[in-house]
Amino acid sequence: MTSATPVSVPADVTARPAPKRPAAPPARATRASSRRRELGACGVLMTPFFALLVTVFLIPVGTAVYLSFFSDDQPGLGFGPERTVFAGLRNYTAVVTDPTFLGGLGVVALYCLIYIPLMVVGALALALLLDSGVVRLRGTAQLALFLPHAVPGIIAALIWLYLYTPGISPVIDVLAKADITVDFLGVHTVLPSIVNIALWSNLGYNMVVFYAALQAVPREVIEAAVVDGAGPVRTALQVKTPLVRPSILMVSMFTLIFALQLFTEPMLLSQSSQMISSRFSPSMYIYDAAFTRNNYGLAAAASVVLLLCTIVLSYGVTRWTNRASAEEATR
């Protein structure tokens, strides 16, 4: 019925509400244009990401990799003219045989072992407490916990440096009056002191992440658990916690990555404590290699080694947790 109308009565076509047949060619056009628009939107929305990825990640990484294989070489005693040569794996050999670098890796490993469990368990416990409704003034508590995260790391380290340094710290003064002598910057206490600063800064932030995830837990699931006779503790540990597992994984991963780059806190505390060497953590080793030892090839190689460690560890954590959850799913 309508097959001939577009040709024979063109006026009619425009008058009628959109029929099925004539819509076909424009529909193809729309699909193409919407596809074009989608691509355009993709481009617009993703350009900033890729621009930043390239300028602040790929180019620096590429430069570091390049630098790590080259060296301003002067053979013999080194007093001759410099020339840039391909050094092969020489910088890498130097880094992995440097006991001070390996020591730094050891320090960061210990730091991760103390810090990450404390952070994840602490933040989750606080989030569960807030979510359970036990806490009054929830908003105020959340703000108070989150506030330290708004303090820049360097300021936080300064504040804590003030509290840790004997002679100027009111905390040490008060403890001394109670006949307790504490050296926050001693051989065995300096790492826990750094962990404390990091916890203070980041606990609130991760707590908010967990709290948001807990808000998304369906209420009926919790109601069902309560009906089945689970108390608040059991609900928290056996119902809510497994449901926010992806958040736990994400927080652990980010905490791990930031922990491996440990720099600001020990760098500042090293001004007050000789127990923090100038090569205390791998990041400090890199800084020292570049700016004290003026050895950019070595610094670049150490950076690449640290990057590889980070990638391997992150990948390991992801694989391990994925496998664990897959096993759980099949059970």
């Binding site: 340094t165 127990m275 030892r293």
Partner: protein, 463 residues
């Protein structure tokens, strides 16, 4: 107990320390490292002064000079007043460890290092290897070469090439409290054995007092002790850097001090600290083992202890064959970026060898540097105010000691870093976690990868 005000100021100091270091370290391409950019009178130095300086006549050649040394402004003013063809723009920079060396490295990397830079002896090989120091062999005049103490010039000469000109050479001496020595019936120790006996006496009778401080930040002090004992931490014979920090003389020195530490005969903390200042100010330490320069620093820091200190030669291992090492001392280098090396060299020569330069520096009242040009010792002897040391002729003592500086010592290519690793070990040793010799070995282990990564030939033989 410090009050609020001092707490705040101490905190401000703590806050400022890392920032100055970081800023100067990162300021490679920034405006603050452009020589002379801070004042309007020197604003043109970086460009016009450089290009027109050497070429055009009738205009003063402008050169820039970086230093953290006390009295430098007075010296530069005296130079500028007496010279028509060269004008020096002086810029005070932080001392090396506080960021001065990082600033110099980064400026050189960015191609705008000053014409003349101040470098302490231990760092000269590093800057020479990095190409920051210009080879001065052909620029140095025969007159200056002859005037300098050979041991001093030896420390800045590598492969027969001179990379920096010594300003002062600082034999390590014994500063001691005359009043407290009298109270405990002590004689000035001539040997290290006598020194240890003195330390035991003070430990027995002195209560909180100790004979001396073993500085946990004192790699250069330990180097001076080892140097005196005959150690050779670095050697360049055979065209390779031989590193042997834990050689026999060093082991002997380390064992000596370890015994003193284990028997609680010494204070053990950082010397660059308020704790150490308090120990000296409070009379809790009877001696200081430092370079000759420290006589002037002491006058400025503690004017109230006038007439209580005297200076004696460093104790000896073998008094029949006296030797000392040095502690401190600076040199002047012309950098690779200088466009007026001849003018820079003329300024350096004047600064290290002209009597007016030494007079100007000593006029600041805070310096007791012992010049590397022995001909200037008489000037120093006259210009130095002896009042503080009860009239003692300390320059004659320095002169005698400088002659016994053991020849042949060589600093390593990355001495700041080597020293830092060693000091990390000293700090652990002060907590009873480690020993001095472990710290020294760790310093060697932490140095080798660095030298290898630089592409230097290295060996590790030890006696």
């Amino acid at each position: 107990m410090p009050d609020r005000q001092s707490r705040r100021s101490v905190l401000a100091t703590i806050a400022a320390l890392p920032l100055t270091g970081a800023l100067s370290a990162c300021g490679g391409g920034g405006g603050d490292t452009r020589p002379g950019s801070s004042t309007s009178s020197t604003g043109s130095t970086g460009t016009t002064g450089r290009t027109s300086g050497t070429g055009r006549t009738g205009r003063r050649t402008r050169i820039t000079f970086w230093s953290a040394l006390r009295g430098s402004q007075e010296v530069v003013d005296a130079f500028n007043a007496g010279h028509d063809t060269i004008h020096v723009d002086y810029q005070q920079i932080p001392s090396g460890g506080q960021g001065g060396y990082a600033k110099l490295s980064n400026a050189a990397r960015a191609g705008n290092a000053p014409d003349v830079a101040t470098i302490e002896y231990p760092q000269v090989p590093g800057f020479a290897i990095d190409g920051v120091c210009r080879d001065l062999t052909d620029l140095i005049s025969d007159r200056l070469r002859a005037a300098l103490l050979p041991q001093a010039l030896g420390l800045t000469t590598f492969e027969k090439r001179v990379f920096s000109i010594p300003l002062d050479i600082e034999p390590m001496v014994l500063h001691y409290r005359t009043d407290l020595f009298e109270r405990y019936g002590l004689d000035v120790p001539r040997t290290w054995e006598e020194f240890e006996e003195g330390a035991r006496t003070v430990r027995r009778e002195g209560g909180q007092r100790r004979f001396v401080l073993f500085p946990t930040d004192g790699a250069t002090q330990l180097a001076a002790y080892a140097w005196q004992a005959g150690a050779q931490w670095f050697d360049t014979a055979g065209g390779a850097w031989n590193v042997s920090l834990a050689d026999a003389p060093t082991r002997r020195v380390a064992a000596y001090w370890q015994r003193m530490i284990d028997d609680d005969l010494v204070h053990m903390n950082a010397v660059e600290s308020r704790q150490s200042d308090a120990q000296i100010a409070g009379g809790l330490v009877l001696t200081r083992l430092t370079g000759a320069w420290d006589a002037g620093a002491q006058i400025q820091a503690r004017p109230g202890q006038k007439n209580r200190w005297a200076i004696a030669p460093l104790p000896q291992w073998d008094p029949a064959r006296p030797a000392v090492g040095t502690h401190g001392g600076s040199t002047f280098a012309v950098t690779k970026d200088s466009t007026a090396p001849e003018a820079a060299m003329e300024f350096i020569e004047w600064q290290v060898s002209h009597p007016d330069a030494l007079r100007a520096r000593l006029s600041s009242g805070t310096s007791s540097q012992y010049p590397a040009v022995p001909g200037l010792v008489d000037v120093g002897r006259e210009a130095f105010d002896r009042g503080y040391y009860g009239g003692q002729d300390i320059y004659t003592l320095f002169e005698e000691q400088a002659r016994t500086i053991r020849e042949g010592w060589i600093w390593g290519p990355r001495m700041s870093a080597t020293g830092k690793v060693m000091q990390d070990g000293f700090a652990r040793a002060s907590g009873g976690q480690s020993s001095l010799i472990d710290a020294i070995r760790a310093a060697q282990d932490g140095t080798m990868p660095d030298l290898k990564a630089l592409g230097l030939s290295t060996t590790q033989r030890s006696t």
